[in-house]
């Protein structure tokens, strides 16, 4: 099939939806039913009356598949708007991670030093451990986690990506 051919692309989609029961299951289920990929998915309501949620989805596929993903999302009844931020051009992507690191002595000092370089904050500490909060592009978090792996990484929790187009316009 033509849409299975071509280079794999990574796209970040912003989807606004009515905040009704089951809406996330609808979206996630559509991806699995049609064999599309979800690399990352974040969701939270963004209006004062909790009526609309914004979902950020990172998906991978050929350009034809991505076009289908957008069309399939767009036809769903509770979906207000789908924006392909990658296609739109310049946008910012951020992710937050909590990173637990255990160790003592030199390792502890090195962990703090690296955290400073990455502008990670300490949100919990014991005599033998830290929990760092680090925010940034996914690649930055990947790098931070990788470095902490050498020092005493215990566990990682990541939020997945939220994204927004640059400039003054709303999606």
């Amino acid at each position: 099939m033509h849409n299975k051919q071509g280079a794999q692309e990574r796209h970040t989609l912003s989807v606004t939806v009515s905040n009704e029961p089951g809406v996330l299951a609808r979206i996630a289920g559509m991806f699995s039913a049609r064999g599309y990929n979800i690399e990352s998915l974040t969701v939270a309501d963004i209006t004062e009356d909790d009526a609309v949620s914004r979902i950020t989805i990172v998906t991978v596929g050929t350009s034809a598949v991505i076009e289908q993903v957008v069309a399939q999302l767009d036809r769903m009844v509770p979906v207000h708007k789908v924006t392909d931020l990658t296609l739109l051009g310049d946008h910012v992507e951020r992710e937050l991670a909590l990173v637990k690191v255990a160790g003592s002595g030199e390792h502890r000092i090195e962990a703090l030093r690296l955290a400073e370089v990455f502008r990670a904050g300490v949100v919990d500490t014991t005599i033998g451990s830290f929990v760092f909060e680090v925010t940034g592009a996914s690649t930055k978090i990947d790098r931070f986690v990788e470095l902490m792996g050498e020092i005493g990484l215990v566990e990682v929790a990541r939020t997945g990506i939220v994204a927004m187009a640059r400039g003054k316009e709303a999606v």
Partner: protein, 582 residues
């Protein structure tokens, strides 16, 4: 302030406000309050089916033959799960349908209560949309919204799950005004700039073809009229998918017959050789395209569809127009005339088409001893076509023979399960069609295997005195399975013989039907006449050639120009690659 009504009464009021005349249903514990409300009123007629799947197919038959949405009412748990096949069928074939399901009381949801099933979870991916109603206050608006969603845009099934306590609790009901949905806003009018471009492409084409589908039927009878006008002014030939038969008349000059796996030689070759394909409300289904990388290699493609996701899904369109196909064709005709386009000289194209037509790909071998199934359909057509009958089918060889040899001149007369291919569709669909068209001749062309999948519905027709006819092409095989086994698996007929068949004549009589058996050519026309003469339901058991195959055929993994026209073209066993393809 309007007076308070129970949830059950709100449902009835809303359905009446929406013009519902008939609902197909089956009672059960979780819908008892609604059934009590039905008992106390006379405005809506309830048709008691014998299995919930049949309720959904009957609603589909009603919808497809009348253009109005079909309405289904079933209970929770097994009632809802039995309806899932028909709901999926309606989704695949874009049939407007509203399915009301009972649910256990809200405080019991999630507790594995008796006859509890997660209906909204189960039907999420086989509906256009679905709802769980948590309060009677929402109920009226949700019912109206459900109808709006089911009937507009690309039509489809909508499930409304109503817990039993919501049916009993009271709330005020007021008929809502025009529905302005927050996020659901289907496009009707196509982009005029794109439509102008489409007109220019059509006018400039040397080998154009109109490839029409079920979307033209869904766009209403006027869309079929505009299609005929578009074909007339452009001079282009017309082919159709299984779902679109009748939109362009089979008796029309430009008609090439159905395309695809069991389509005609001329339709498939014309698609392959065309320089422009105008796809009108069809979706490049795998049964239509055959091998995708060899599909219509020379053609530019214009795709008009109300569902944006249909465009570029499997076949890349050079020009995609999102909109109601009837409205877009109307604009095309207007622009064509405004620009004073003349019919292009398509004589060389038609000359080639005539050469393909000369193959007579629908011809079948004659037999003096047996009834050829194609001949049975042809005889049925000859005997009935003046009455403009509504034909339903089950799924299999008989369905394809009906599509090939029963010629449709009008829309809404051909009801078949296309996308999902659901055996057992035809009888309940015929019941639904007869209810929507009390004076029409309604015939289910069936196979002896499929008909048994919803045979219990004989009783429904009897109860409501519906004079539907069932015409079984009985070859004692699941014929299409047997045909594929013959073509693909060296005739190893694994489980495809219809063993231990009932005596359909006696079975019909047991349900209060007239039963007729046709055993040979001498009895064919007389048997059909006896069926038509009887003022009531008739089941005809027509014994046909057992090993006849449905040709032409594009085998698995083949392109349009690799059609098999007759059994002599079949050799050996298929490759594993071809076996794995659908």
């Amino acid at each position: 302030m309007p007076k308070e009504l129970s949830g059950a009464d709100i449902l009835i009021e809303a359905l009446c406000d929406l013009g519902v005349e008939v609902i197909f249903g089956y009672p059960g514990g979780a819908v008892l309050p609604i059934y009590d409300a039905i008992f106390k009123q006379t405005r809506i007629k309830h048709i008691l089916v014998r299995h919930e799947q049949a309720a959904t197919h009957a609603a589909e038959g009603y919808a497809r033959s009348t253009g109005k949405p079909g309405v289904v009412l079933v209970t929770s748990g097994p009632g809802a799960t039995n309806a899932v096949t028909g709901i999926t069928d309606a989704l695949m074939d874009s049939i407007p349908m509203i399915v009301i399901t009972g649910q256990v009381a809200t405080h019991l949801i999630g507790s594995d209560a008796f006859q509890e099933a997660d209906t909204v979870g189960i039907t999420r991916h086989c509906t256009k949309h679905n709802y769980l109603v948590k309060s009677p206050v929402q109920l009226g608006d949700i019912i109206h919204e459900a109808f709006h969603i089911a009937t507009t845009g690309r039509p489809g099934p909508v499930v409304v799950d109503i817990p039993k306590d919501v049916q009993v609790a009271t709330a005020p009901y007021r008929k809502p005004g025009k529905i302005e949905h927050k996020s659901y806003k289907p496009a009707l009018k196509g982009d005029l700039k794109l439509i102008e471009a489409a007109v220019e492409m059509l006018a400039a084409a040397e080998r154009p073809i109109l490839y029409t589908g079920g979307g033209v039927i869904n766009a209403g009878p006027q869309a079929s009229m505009i299609l005929r006008e578009l074909a007339r002014i452009s001079g282009a030939p017309v082919t159709s998918t299984l779902m679109g038969l009748g939109a362009y008349p089979a008796s029309g000059d430009a008609w090439l017959g159905m395309l695809g796996m069991h389509g005609t030689y001329e339709a498939n070759w014309a698609m392959n050789q065309a320089d422009l394909i105008l796809c009108l409300g069809a979706r490049f289904d795998d049964r239509v395209t055959g091998r995708l990388d060899a599909f219509a290699p020379k053609a530019r493609k214009i795709h008009i569809d109300i569902d944006r996701s249909s465009i570029n899904k499997t076949v890349r369109a050079d020009l995609g127009i999102v909109g109601d196909v009837g409205r877009v064709m109307e604009d095309m005709v207007k622009i064509w005339k405004a620009r004073a386009h003349q019919k292009a000289d398509l004589a060389p194209w038609w000359k080639r088409i005539d050469e393909w037509r000369a193959k007579k790909s629908l011809a079948y071998p004659a037999s003096t001893t047996e009834i050829m199934p194609q001949e049975a359909v042809a005889a049925l057509y000859r005997a009935t076509h003046k009455r403009k009958p509504i034909i339903t089918t089950e799924v299999g060889q008989h369905q394809m023979w009906a599509a090939q040899h029963f010629h449709f001149d009008d829309p809404n007369k051909w009801l078949t399960s296309g996308g999902l291919g659901t055996m057992g569709y035809g009888l309940p669909a015929a019941i639904g069609a007869q209810l929507g068209n009390p004076n029409a001749l309604v015939i289910d062309i069936a196979g002896e295997a499929s008909i048994q999948m919803n045979i219990q519905e004989l009783a429904t027709a009897t109860q409501y005195r519906l004079p539907v006819k069932i015409f079984i092409l009985n070859n004692e095989y699941m014929g299409m399975v047997r045909q594929w086994q013959e073509l693909t698996y060296s005739s190893r007929y694994s489980e495809s013989y219809s063993d231990s068949l009932p005596d359909f004549v006696k079975l019909g009589e047991a349900y209060g039907w007239k039963g007729i058996r046709i055993e040979n050519m001498d009895g064919l026309e007389g048997g059909i006449q006896a069926m038509l003469d009887h003022d009531g339901p008739v089941i005809v058991d027509c014994m046909v050639a057992k090993l006849a195959n449905c040709f032409p055929m594009i085998p698995s993994g083949a392109s349009h120009v690799e059609m098999l026209l007759d059994p002599s073209m079949v050799t050996g066993e298929m490759s594993d690659e071809a076996k794995a393809l659908v």
